[in-house]
């Protein structure tokens, strides 16, 4: 509708666009919120699930380590029991102690260890429950050396060592033998097979990479079992638990990538009370979280699907809304265009001077324009819905008998029969006596079958009539002097006439020739003035007194008549005028004043009207005391060829006053004539000054 006019057209696009942006933004925000909420929920679930898994695993590992701790304590206590017993017996009976017998008869429970023996003060392995082939010197071993200098060590649990005698891994547990005098008396040693621990750990189901281990606080593994693999003596001082323990946290969970095998595990460690040992169990986090991962993947998939669904919905909604908006905008625009067109057409039809009547497909009157209603003085009568025939009858009823209307159907036959410009000229019988020109156009449009158009040609018709009347009058006026010239010259040629009559006829011929020339001159003058509408006028500042004085001086009054009297003020009066044309007009009036007055004075008076007002005017009055005119003659005095005198005694063309009127009007002035029959006439010209 920028459309329109574009002009206006009423353009609602920015508003729609802004509102659409707002709705799209709302949809986007809602979708984003929904997606964020979904993801928050899912991630919370995932996180909780992970935490739950870890919490369960921690609990399990905590219990497990409690078990392994207990196992370690029991084992060590049992071993220590044996050591203390052997220590005590050795101090009582010395080398007579029969370790083999004690073991064999069950005094010493040998289930948990490989060997029990005594290293003497010199470091020689002197006694054992197993046969000793040669006394090994173990004085360089740590589990011996720690006891030599001091009694403060208590039970010592060695790092796993590879037995020189057995070639097997073993953990040595030793206690100092202190003689009653306080001297160092050697060491009781129990060799524990780390496999004892590991076989216990094998019973624990920790998965293929699960770990169960017994570490010393020195960072060396006494037993380390991962799945089926067992190892002894490997060092892991960087494991986090040592740090925790050194800070006083004697048990707890942690997650770390193993410093030994690089596997990430959830560990649970426990310091073994009274021993410098730590039990630890670990589950591979990957294994631990396998179920969680599956659940998590499921959740994430759901969330992703949900996200996609929400996005798709949001997109679809936005698109749908946009389409609706676009459709609405298009509809609004179309509507506004239609409105604009309707207004335009309505304005055109309302203001058009030509009238229209449209007919629908059934040839019923559909629309009647105001101009048509006006021309036919329709008034409040309604024509819409009338059949073509009824309309034709109605219109025919308005027409003057001289111009009967043939009817719309007959007009259509003419138009379709090869005369597309066929017109009917109708004169209305009403008071208006309007002349209407009616035409018809057939249409292939679906809503309008034909349009009857109607033009008021009254004016053109009158102008045409006036033209032919003028021509007839002009021809008549020219024929009259021509008749005299032709006729009298013929008479002179063919008749024997006395010289006086000859003279008389020649005088008539001469006068009439002059009259004819004068008519032609004045006709041309008038035609020129009317055609050029003053365009060839040369306006200059003219002093009216000077112009009039010159005119009077040059004017030759008829024989025996006095020159015109001049009445005017001394102060010069200037007007913008074409001096030549103004003189011609005044001369015409002056000639008439003398022609139509047998005697008496002719007075020219110049004065100013409305001098102080907004539109001052110079008035030139020319007054005679002549024959005057009747009101009827007065009303026609400016018509072309109108002669108040029809006697033929006063020569004239009947064009003079018409020329005066034209010249006066070209100066923006007015011509006023007042006359009384038998008393005289006063002609007044006014010119703005």
């Amino acid at each position: 509708m920028n459309p329109v006019g574009p002009q206006r057209g009423l353009d609602t696009r920015p508003a729609v666009s802004a509102s659409q942006r707002r709705i799209s933004l709302l949809i986007g925000l809602a979708a984003t919120a929904l997606i964020l909420l979904t993801w928050w929920h899912v991630l919370t679930l995932v996180s909780e699930s992970r935490q739950r898994e870890f919490a369960a695993a921690e609990r399990d590992l905590g219990n497990l380590t409690r078990l392994t701790q207990e196992h370690a304590i029991r084992t060590l206590r049992s071993a220590d029991q044996v050591i203390r017993f052997v220590q005590s017996r050795y101090l009582e009976i010395g080398d007579r102690i029969d370790l083999k017998a004690l073991t064999a008869n069950g005094v010493i429970d040998s289930e948990i260890f490989n060997q029990v023996g005594i290293i003497d003060a010199k470091g020689l392995y002197t006694l054992s429950n197993l046969p000793i082939l040669n006394k090994l010197d173990l004085s360089d071993r740590e589990h011996f050396k720690v006891h030599v200098a001091s009694d403060s060590v208590g039970l010592f649990v060695s790092k796993p060592v590879l037995g020189r005698a057995s070639g097997k891994w073993s953990i040595q547990m030793t206690r100092r033998i202190t003689r009653p005098n306080g001297d160092f008396g050697g060491v009781v040693v129990v060799s524990i097979d780390p496999g004892y621990f590991s076989s216990f750990y094998s019973a624990l189901n920790l998965g293929p990479k699960g770990l169960a281990a017994l570490y010393g606080v020195d960072g060396v593994a006494r037993v380390r079992k991962v799945g089926p693999q067992e190892a002894y003596g490997n060092k892991a001082p960087d494991a986090a638990m040592f740090g925790y323990i050194s800070r006083g946290q004697l048990s707890g969970p942690y997650i770390q990538q193993s410093v030994v095998d690089g596997v990430e595990r959830l560990y649970y460690y426990r310091k073994v009370p009274q021993y410098e040992l730590i039990v630890v169990a670990g589950l591979e986090t990957q294994d631990l979280l396998a179920n969680h991962r599956q659940a998590r993947d499921g959740l994430l998939l759901q969330a992703t699907l949900m996200t996609l669904l929400v996005l798709a919905l949001a997109l679809a909604m936005t698109r749908h809304l946009r389409r609706i908006r676009l459709e609405m905008t298009a509809r609004q625009q179309a509507q506004s265009q239609v409105e604009d067109r309707t207004q335009q057409l309505s304005a055109i039809f309302t203001m058009s001077p030509d009238g229209f009547v449209s007919f629908d497909q059934e040839h019923r009157v559909k629309y009647v324009s105001p101009a048509f209603a006006d021309m036919t003085t329709l008034g409040t009568q309604r024509l819409e819905g009338l059949s073509e025939q009824a309309f034709s009858d109605w219109l025919a009823g308005l027409c003057d008998v001289g111009t009967p209307f043939i009817g719309v159907a007959a007009l259509r036959t003419k138009v379709l029969g090869g005369k597309p410009d066929a017109r009917e000229l109708l004169q209305m019988a009403q008071d208006t006596r309007r002349m209407l020109q009616i035409g018809l156009r057939c249409s292939e449009s679906t809503s309008v079958s034909q349009i009857l158009y109607c033009r008021d040609v009254t004016h053109e018709f009158e102008v045409g009539q006036m033209k032919s009347e003028f021509l007839a009058t002009a021809a008549h006026e020219l024929r009259t002097p021509m008749q005299s010239i032709l006729g009298f010259s013929e008479v002179l040629l063919h008749h024997e006439l006395d010289s006086k009559t000859q003279q008389e006829l020649l005088t008539i011929i001469n006068q009439e020739s002059g009259q004819m020339a004068k008519i032609l001159d004045e006709l041309l003058d008038l035609a020129r003035i009317e055609a050029r509408r003053g365009k060839d006028f040369r306006f200059t500042r003219v002093c009216l007194q000077d112009l009039t004085t010159d005119l009077v001086r040059a004017f030759l009054p008829p024989a025996g008549r006095a020159a015109p009297e001049l009445l005017m003020r001394e102060q010069p009066l200037h007007v913008m005028a074409d001096a030549g044309k103004l003189r011609q007009a005044l001369l015409n009036v002056l000639s008439n004043a003398y022609k139509y007055s047998p005697g008496g004075a002719v007075v020219i008076q110049i004065e100013v009207g409305d001098e102080a007002g907004p539109a001052p005017r110079a008035w030139i009055h020319i007054t005679d005391q002549g024959i005057g005119m009747t009101p009827q003659q007065l009303s026609r005095v400016c018509e072309r060829f109108y002669r108040a005198d029809t006697s033929g005694k006063i020569p004239g063309t009947g064009l003079g006053m018409r020329i005066v009127k034209e010249i006066c009007e070209m100066h923006g002035g007015k011509l006023a004539i007042s006359s009384t029959l038998g008393l005289g006439t006063r002609v007044s010209l006014s010119i703005p000054c």
């Binding site: 009259t480 008749q483 005299s484 013929e490 009559t501 006829l505 009439e512 006697s647 033929g648």
Partner: protein, 120 residues
Amino acid sequence: MIRILIVDDHSDIRRLLSITLGKDFEILEAEDAASALDAVRRHHPTIVLLDVMMPGKMNGLDALAEIKASPQTQDILVAMISARGQVSDHDEARKLGADAYFVKPFSPLQVAAWVRSKVA
């Protein structure tokens, strides 16, 4: 003597026709239709030469109709003289019973010839 009535508002035309016909006929003149009809009734001329366009309430054609309508005057020969040379005028005059139709400017000799042919 045969009387001829010349009707025209222009004195020159009347003068022209009276000079042309005055030697052989008695000439009557009228300058409008009303006085022409008056003269027709009073003097019963043989021929009327009648101008069409004349001032006054009646024109030449009205006077023609009157002359031809009245049993007392319908035998009078009427020649119309007009500046209007249109066929329609001519036809109208004929319809009203005009015996001849001369268009201005006419030849006075032709008019005289027609008059003589009618009274011979």
